[in-house]
């Protein structure tokens, strides 16, 4: 069998994004011919890129010393002007290899699932073209070696997400949700652009490349603002408070899209970005002022992550739609990851580097396990939706465990992982985050207090997670069987094309945390990336794990006590507030959307009725003065044209004679 080696890597690496992009173009151009076979090229391409990415991951893992674990390939020049040079440049290191392998592997199974789920849709080729393009763009995002190229992937996944949320474009809600997702994430993207400009200003001459970016001696103020801008970009993409409003609405897209883009991959891009930037920056911070700047930024990350985790968990409790519960749980889990990214200390460079590396490793670990179990949960929800005629309202479905036995088991595994029960994967990764928060709280220094507060918040949210997850599980699969009439004769288990991906994803969702967490395999690997502090091995911290488990158990117990009590039609104030997402959408609407819309209309009106009329008024002045010339204004265009031409001739003649 063929192997990825240092020699052939340069040609194999671009195939990871290249194959899906190529398949996408193929399907886009020849989709009308391919018709129902449109998923074959995509399956082949994504399968190929998954294979290469996994081989590349193994290659990096075997590469031994730290130097061999980083490979950078420069293919061509992209943008070069003056002293700015941005290249088509890919990098392979532990972080990017892990991300690429995870993204391509999960995509493969979701593409397979989609071929069953989307069967018979008139937009079948369009769907697969967009999904394939998405896989390509996401791989560019994680493999890019400079910020502008990362930005290409970043906006590319945004565009694909836009096209896929609005896939059923004739539905006004879908079209609206697509626009909202595009714009809210774009707000973050504009901030990311500003961050790049600031980093460039601060003195990085060679195109914001990840291998030279961190060793600069940045001016602390500029560094702080640059990080804040990058952070806003990350918040937008990863749907963190206050830019989280687009993600729940994004559930208007087909469910496999929610699984792939809005749970497992794209929304983790923000976590990836900060994990790419923070550990090396903490390690290379040359002055206390720089360290302070990084710390100040991390405070924001910590608080926003914590607020999102708690808020989203509360909102999830108030939801009645299974997919929306899962969407809010994604927000909440991403909030955990951001909390981990906020862990650090300002008391010393080495200490900070160790702490930030370990905590970012925990964030990326949770990203990794979450991708599997959340994809599994969403696909199970998709399977339910497929059987129930697109109804996921927990007031109308229930007791489905007999009708959908495979889906039931898959969902249960996902729910156990999400709630964080051992030995399921979520337990180990969530524990890692709680532990990093505890380490941050015990690190001393001025940031310790905030870490303490966030630790308690994280534990409380863990209890809420257990509650809403198991409540959703119990209401969907237990109690009296309820099948809505929309289901028709569809109310049976999904075809193998959909159940096989469920079975495949259930394995890592159940076991991968246990396999790579306590064995230090994951931490050792990720923290061998250049710029990271190598992992330190501690014994498993039973105390924190026990408290976390207790919290989750409490939540689950409450869910069992509530049992089959379904949410009512008219909620009381508190539940109503949670159901509407605490009115954050209304705040945006009345403070940003509406004013901008009215402002636009007003300016447009003023421009036509005031500015233009003023200009016309000015234009009249010569006419009043030269009233005697009126006979010349006879309204015949040709005469005006002739007059202009004559004028020019006279002008030229004057010049010539003037010599």
């Amino acid at each position: 069998m063929f192997n990825v080696t240092t020699e052939n890597l340069w040609i194999l690496l671009p195939l990871i994004p290249g194959l899906p992009v190529f398949a996408s173009i193929l399907v886009a151009l020849f989709g009308h011919r391919l018709g129902k076979r449109s998923h074959y090229p995509v399956l082949l391409a994504v399968g190929g890129s998954a294979l290469i990415a996994i081989l590349a991951l193994i290659h990096v893992h075997h590469a031994g010393n730290e130097q061999g674990r980083e490979a950078i390939f420069n293919y061509a020049n992209w943008l070069e002007a003056g002293n700015l040079r941005v290249d088509w440049e890919l990098r392979l290191d532990a972080l990017s290899a892990m991300m690429a392998a995870m993204v391509s592997f999960i995509s493969l199974w979701i593409v397979l699932f989609s071929s069953g789920y989307m069967h018979g849709d008139p937009g079948y080729p369009r769907y697969f073209a967009a999904v394939s393009l998405f896989v390509g763009a996401m791989n560019i995002l994680v493999l890019a070696n400079n910020l502008p190229l990362l930005f290409l992937g970043w906006e590319g996944v945004g565009v694909c997400s836009y096209l896929l949320i609005g896939f059923w474009f004739a539905k006004p809600e879908a079209a609206k949700a697509a626009r909202k997702a595009f714009l809210v994430t774009r707000l973050g993207d504009v901030a990311l652009l500003a961050g790049m400009i600031l980093l460039y200003r601060a003195g990085d001459p060679v195109g914001l490349s990840f291998d030279t970016m961190f060793s600069h001696n940045y001016d602390p103020t500029t560094l702080y603002w640059a990080l804040v801008c990058l952070g806003i970009g990350a918040f937008g993409k990863s749907a963190q408070f206050p830019l989280h409003v687009w993600l729940p609405d994004a559930m208007e897209g087909p469910t496999p899209v929610s699984a792939l883009i809005h749970a497992a991959t794209m929304v983790t891009a923000g976590v990836y970005l900060l994990a790419r930037v923070l550990p090396p920056l903490a390690g290379d911070a040359v002055s206390p002022a720089q360290l302070q700047a990084v710390g100040n930024f991390q405070d924001i990350v910590l608080v926003c992550g914590g607020v999102t985790a708690l808020l989203a968990a509360l909102i999830a409790l108030g939801q009645t739609d299974l997919k929306r519960i899962l969407a809010y749980s994604t927000l909440s889990q991403l909030g955990y990851m951001f909390m981990a990214l906020g862990v650090g200390t300002t008391s010393g460079t080495t200490q900070c580097h160790t702490l930030v590396s370990a905590a970012s490793g925990a964030a990326v670990f949770h990203l990794f396990t979450h991708a599997f179990f959340k994809a599994l949960l969403f696909l199970s929800a998709g399977s339910v939706m497929h059987a129930m005629g697109n109804v996921l309202d927990l007031r109308r479905i229930g007791g489905l465990r007999r009708l959908l036995p495979i889906t039931h088991i898959a969902f249960l595994i996902g729910a156990l992982a999400l709630a964080g029960l051992p030995p399921f994967s979520g337990f180990f990764s969530k524990d890692g985050i709680l532990e990093s928060l505890e380490n941050g709280a015990h690190s001393g220094g001025e940031r310790a207090g905030l870490h303490h507060a966030m630790l308690y918040l994280g534990l409380f949210t863990a209890a809420l997670t257990g509650l809403y997850t198991f409540r959703a599980y119990l209401l969907t699969f237990w109690g009296a069987q309820r099948v809505p009439e929309e289901a028709g004769d569809h109310a049976h288990e999904s075809p193998p094309g959909m159940t096989i991906p469920l079975a495949v994803l259930a394995v890592p969702a159940a076991l991968i945390g246990w396999a790579v967490g306590p064995t230090h395999l994951f931490a050792d690997f990720i923290q061998s990336a250049p710029g990271w502090h190598p992992a330190e091995h501690h014994d498993f911290a039973w105390k924190m794990a026990g408290i976390g488990l207790l919290a989750a158990g409490l939540g689950i117990a409450v869910a069992f006590i509530l049992g089959d009590r379904r949410p009512g039609g008219t909620p009381n104030n508190l539940v109503g507030a949670a159901r509407s997402g605490f009115f954050i959408d209304d705040v945006y609407s009345s403070f940003i959307t509406k004013p901008c819309e009215y402002g636009g209309r007003l300016l447009n009106f003023l421009d036509r009725e005031l500015v233009d009329k003023l200009a016309e008024l000015l234009g009249r002045i010569p006419a009043w003065l030269g009233d005697s010339l009126r006979p010349l204004q006879n309204g015949l265009l040709q005469y005006y044209a002739l007059a202009m031409a004559l004028g020019l001739v006279v002008l030229i003649a004057m010049f010539t004679l003037a010599r």
Binding site: A76, A81, L84, F151, L152, G600, R608, L648
Partner: protein, 528 residues
């Protein structure tokens, strides 16, 4: 003289001749055919000559003598007034105009193709004036001489005036008149500026670019003495015509009306090419002639105007009720970014601005041609009367989404590179005091740009079908439609992925301007 330079005069001459012949033609098909063949031949010539030029210019050892001994150019001494004539036919390609000449040739030819299906009277004249417009624009871009440039620049108004005034929408005469009065007023002020330069620089009647740039920058400074017109005033006079042409807010109120009333192919040419003529004039005439003044006055006056245009244009586009005026205001907003890039006076921003101009030309042409096809099929462009068109016109919708996303600045498509470099160039070097408000304005504009564009897509393409032309599925795209949209779509992608040839082409000229501005700034510091 190099063999290929001998072909240069044919590039503008072919469409001009084709247009003039078409005016005399008997019938529509003949006229359209002549103009189309002439435009295509001119495009082929332009590609051949400029690729030869490019292969020489991208040689790293090619240090353009710019402005030290003169770029090779075609010269035909006198065309008016004998041996020591003023108005010489001096044509040449260089880093500043090469791309724009190609853009003009391409969009010109495509505009003719897109006009083939227009329903109109006296069509042979329409095609004739179209050819003349393309020829004159090519002449303006190719001119290596200020006076020739100015004459061609002003002459473009005549065919444009007739095209809008005769074949436009219901309000065409008012639109044409307003456009002409505006542009002519600006143009006359520019002429005053030219006269002042010629009088004060001691150059007399030598109007070649290199001679002007070489002498003007040194001698103008020395002549800034009491009793003379201040340089700032001369600079602003020079700018007037170009600022109206782009247009910049608040000199823009002719533009939405003209865009709306003009036949869509003419609007496409107006927005894709003629607006660039304004930016090009600003760069070539105002900045190269008076680099020191440009750096001072430009930053005090033009930067605020550029930012105003970006934000104001975006808001007005947001409030537009129909597609064409949305694109008109959007164009104002986008071109403000290109101007900002130029005003950085460093290579990053300048080269970015040139890329931005070409990218915007390609994308806006694509958007407007698509618009024309929609209006042909539906008979209206009002948002109120349209919706869910993606279900009816699938291919047109796909093209519209591609061009719209490109115009929003999605990386990998044409606009991003230019926008990114313009912002990097300006904001990466601006003083904090000015940089922060400018950055806030521009970034708000970039965000709003996404907003109104995506809202436009949502209103027009998505949601339940609401079509003025009924809801039966019409036949797909015709041959002419494919011929117009495919080249533009391909260019949108190619310029996004591989903008290097464009960026590299202008490095000598932009480097020269960067040095000149730097020298002027350090010089004025030293004298202080």
């Amino acid at each position: 003289m190099d063999w290929n330079l001998a072909f240069l005069p044919f590039i503008p001459a072919l469409p001009l001749a084709g247009g003039l012949l078409a005016l005399l033609a008997r019938n529509r098909a003949m006229a359209a055919g002549m103009v189309l063949v002439a435009c295509l031949a001119s495009l082929v010539l332009a590609v051949a000559v400029s690729s030869d030029w490019h292969s020489r210019a991208s040689n790293p050892e090619f240090i353009d003598p710019v402005m030290s001994a003169g770029q090779p150019h075609f010269e035909m001494g006198a065309i008016f007034g004998g041996d020591k004539s003023l108005l010489r036919l001096r044509l040449g390609l260089d880093g500043l105009n090469a791309g724009l000449v190609l853009l003009t040739g391409l969009v010109g030819a495509l505009a003719v193709v897109a006009s083939l299906s227009l329903k109109m009277e006296r069509a042979h004249r329409y095609f004739g004036w179209m050819g003349i417009l393309v020829g004159l624009t090519l002449l303006a871009f190719l001119a290596q001489d200020l006076l020739l440039f100015y004459v061609a620049f002003e002459l473009t108004l005549i065919p444009l005036f007739l095209l809008v005034g005769n074949w436009g929408g219901p309000n065409r005469q008012a639109a044409a008149l307003k456009m002409v009065i505006y542009t002519l007023t600006g143009g006359l002020l520019t002429l005053l500026g030219i006269l002042a330069v010629s009088a004060q620089s001691g150059l007399g009647l030598e109007f070649g670019w290199e001679a002007l740039a070489r002498k003007a920058s040194t001698q103008m400074a020395a002549l800034d003495a009491p009793g003379k017109i201040p340089q700032g005033v001369i600079f602003l006079l020079l700018c007037a015509g170009f600022v109206v042409k782009i247009p910049l807010v608040p000199f823009h109120s002719w533009q939405p009306l003209a865009y709306n009333e003009a036949p869509t192919p003419v609007t496409a040419f107006l927005s894709a090419v003629l607006a660039k003529l304004g930016l090009y004039g600003l760069l070539r005439v105002c900045f190269f002639l008076m680099p020191g003044t440009a750096a001072q006055v430009g930053i005090q006056i033009l930067v605020p105007l550029a930012v105003l245009s970006i934000v104001y244009g975006a808001f007005c586009a947001f409030g537009s009720k129909d597609l064409k005026s949305l694109l008109a205001y959007g164009s104002i907003s986008h071109l403000g970014v290109a101007l900002l890039g130029m005003l950085s006076f460093n290579r990053v921003g300048l080269e970015g601005a040139i890329l931005h101009m070409l990218a915007h030309g390609v994308i806006t042409a694509g958007l407007l041609f698509t618009t024309g096809m929609i209006s042909e099929r539906e008979g209206t462009l009002q948002f109120a009367g349209l919706g869910g068109l993606a279900a009816k016109h699938r291919l047109l919708a796909a093209f519209l989404v591609l061009f719209a996303l490109a115009s929003v600045g999605v990386p990998g498509l044409a606009q991003f590179g230019g926008e990114f470099l313009c912002l990097m160039g300006y904001l990466g070097s601006a003083e904090y005091g000015q940089g922060i408000p400018v950055a806030l304005g521009v970034l708000a504009g970039v965000f709003l740009g996404g907003w109104y564009t995506v809202t436009m897509l949502q209103r027009l393409l998505f949601g339940p079908l609401k079509a003025a032309g009924g809801d039966k599925t019409p036949p797909g795209l015709g041959t002419a439609d494919w011929a117009v949209l495919v080249p533009l779509a391909l260019l949108t992608i190619i310029l996004g992925v591989w903008p290097k040839p464009v960026l590299k082409a202008s490095r000598v000229e932009t480097g020269y301007l960067e040095r000149q501005v730097h020298r002027a700034e350090t010089g004025s510091l030293a004298s202080r």
